[in-house]
Amino acid sequence: MMLMLTAYPFINLIWMAVSTITFEQASEVWTFTPVRNFQDLLSDEIFRIALWNTIVFSVVSVSVEIVLGLGLAILVSSITRFKGVVRTALIIPILMPPIAIGSMWSLMYGFDFGVINQMLGYIGIAPLNWLGSTSLALMSVIIVDVWHWTPFVFLILFASVEGLPRDVIEAARVDGAGNRAILFKIIIPLLKPAIFVALLFRSILAFKVFDEVFLLTSGGPGTSTEVVSLHLYKVFFVQNEMGYGALLSIAIICATVAFLWVGKCAGSALKEN
């Protein structure tokens, strides 16, 4: 069953990617048009922009989330009281349906009545055009993403932090390590496998980001927050171009793989130094 649920759609996807699908008399007509689909891909300006935005979005949001999630995980495991409460509080954002997050944040970002601008007003800062300015919009989306997904990273890493061998950390402390050294030389290296998994799945999820962008900006203003899955949605779904959409989807997978691979290389290059 599981195989069918995964393999069949995938094969279908590949087949679609080299076809053009139209409907006649309420039935599908598949035409084999690989060249045309690829040409479309090559000349798809918006896809390129979307890819770039997605990469920026993923790199920034995932790295911020990892840093914050790790920080929170370590802080929470370092406190002695209220651990349970804090942990529960910290995972609330992932409990909220993305669609609610999108709409409620767009309300919060509201230019005129949004609570964020209200707050800024109290401390004497002029209201910001969070979602409406091309320079800010992507950042605003990233902020929401960070808020939404940091708990994910936190949860994964917290479980791992709690299992770290205490005597090793004590040994480091006696060896003269301060909190900083313990963090960077002991905890983070020991957490590497968990960080890796968190990074992996956060990156994949970030590459697939849709709900937040769709509800907050729909890719606008202009193309400033256009991301690949939004583009895919428009092509595959709104424009009903299933063949090209499938190819796009495969291109996105390839891009994700490439992205992860580059990330891995960058990671090991960093480690060398």
């Binding site: 759609p9 802080l75 910290l90 590459f207």
Partner: protein
């Protein structure tokens, strides 16, 4: 982990406090909105007449079968999480401890990742067809199966990383004590990765709880889940913020509760497993 004493204790707690505040402030704000009339929400008023209309509307209006939706979500999320945890931990354990052929294991893990990258948009169609063929369309079973499939990869990967942290020595000792592999898994490895198991469970539950694309297409009015119901408040031309807020609160709270009890259940199950 870190020693928070004196000065660094202050900073630590301050940072943590700030983090918690930033994370829950929006939620509290949203909860606040759920007690406002829409006009107060729109105007961002802080002083307003509190009302429960949003809640009554969400819970009792004809369009929104919210209690039913919550029930559906509970069923789907709980059942799929249980299955995901069982299958996922077993798979993860066997991958991390049994000597699998490198290519088979690598291929399997790679495939789970790749599958995770596919946009759900392109998957829904085939799934819809499959379930119509086998006569499961619009049933919760279909949704459960999909959620199991969707959330399995992450669970496997996560649990693998947690299992790898278990000292091999301890498992060896259990083998000496007369455990079969499966006993080692149940009685030693699983209890030792309890925090990880809970994390994976929470994530699988949450993802299932919030999954929208498949839930929308594979359910009907009777079997719709919470996210689908909530999405109805984002109607054409108008987002019904009040109802949206109250529905979010209503959706978050059972999830919180369930996770809380779920954790207990997991913990208890494991202790029982260890005793038996």
């Amino acid at each position: 982990m870190l020693a928070l004493r004196g000065y660094s204790r202050l900073i630590g707690y301050a940072l943590l406090g700030l983090g918690v505040a930033i994370i829950i402030a929006p939620f509290l704000w949203i909860s606040l909105q759920s007690f406002k009339f829409e006009i107060d929400i729109l105007q961002g008023s802080w002083i307003f007449n509190p009302t429960l209309t949003n809640y009554t509307d969400v819970l009792y209006s004809r369009r929104s079968d919210f209690p039913v939706n919550i029930w559906n979500s509970l069923v789907v999320a709980t059942v799929s999480t249980i299955f995901v945890l069982i299958i996922g931990t077993l798979a993860a354990y066997s991958l991390s401890r049994l000597k699998w052929n490198k290519y088979i294991a690598g291929g399997f893990l790679g495939w789970t990742l790749l599958f995770n990258m596919i946009s759900p948009l392109t998957l829904i169609g085939p799934w819809y067809l499959i379930f119509r063929e086998v006569g499961l369309s619009e049933s919760l079973t279909a949704l459960v199966l999909i959620h199991i499939t969707l959330h399995m990869p992450m669970t496997i990967w996560l649990m693998m990383s947690y299992f790898n942290e278990v000292p091999k020595d301890i498992e060896d000792a259990a083998m000496m004590d007369g455990c079969r592999r499966i006993d080692v898994f149940w009685k030693i490895a699983l209890p030792l990765v309890k925090p990880g198991l809970i994390a994976a469970g929470v994530l699988s539950f949450v993802f299932s709880w919030n999954e929208f694309a498949a839930a929308l297409n594979l359910t009907s009015m009777d079997t719709a889940t919470v996210p689908v119901a909530i999405a109805r408040f984002a109607q054409q031309y108008e987002i019904q913020y009040g109802q949206m807020a109250s529905a979010s609160v209503l959706s978050t709270i059972p999830a919180l509760f369930l996770m809380f009890f779920g954790q207990r259940f997991v913990v208890q199950g494991l202790t029982m497993g260890a005793v038996k």
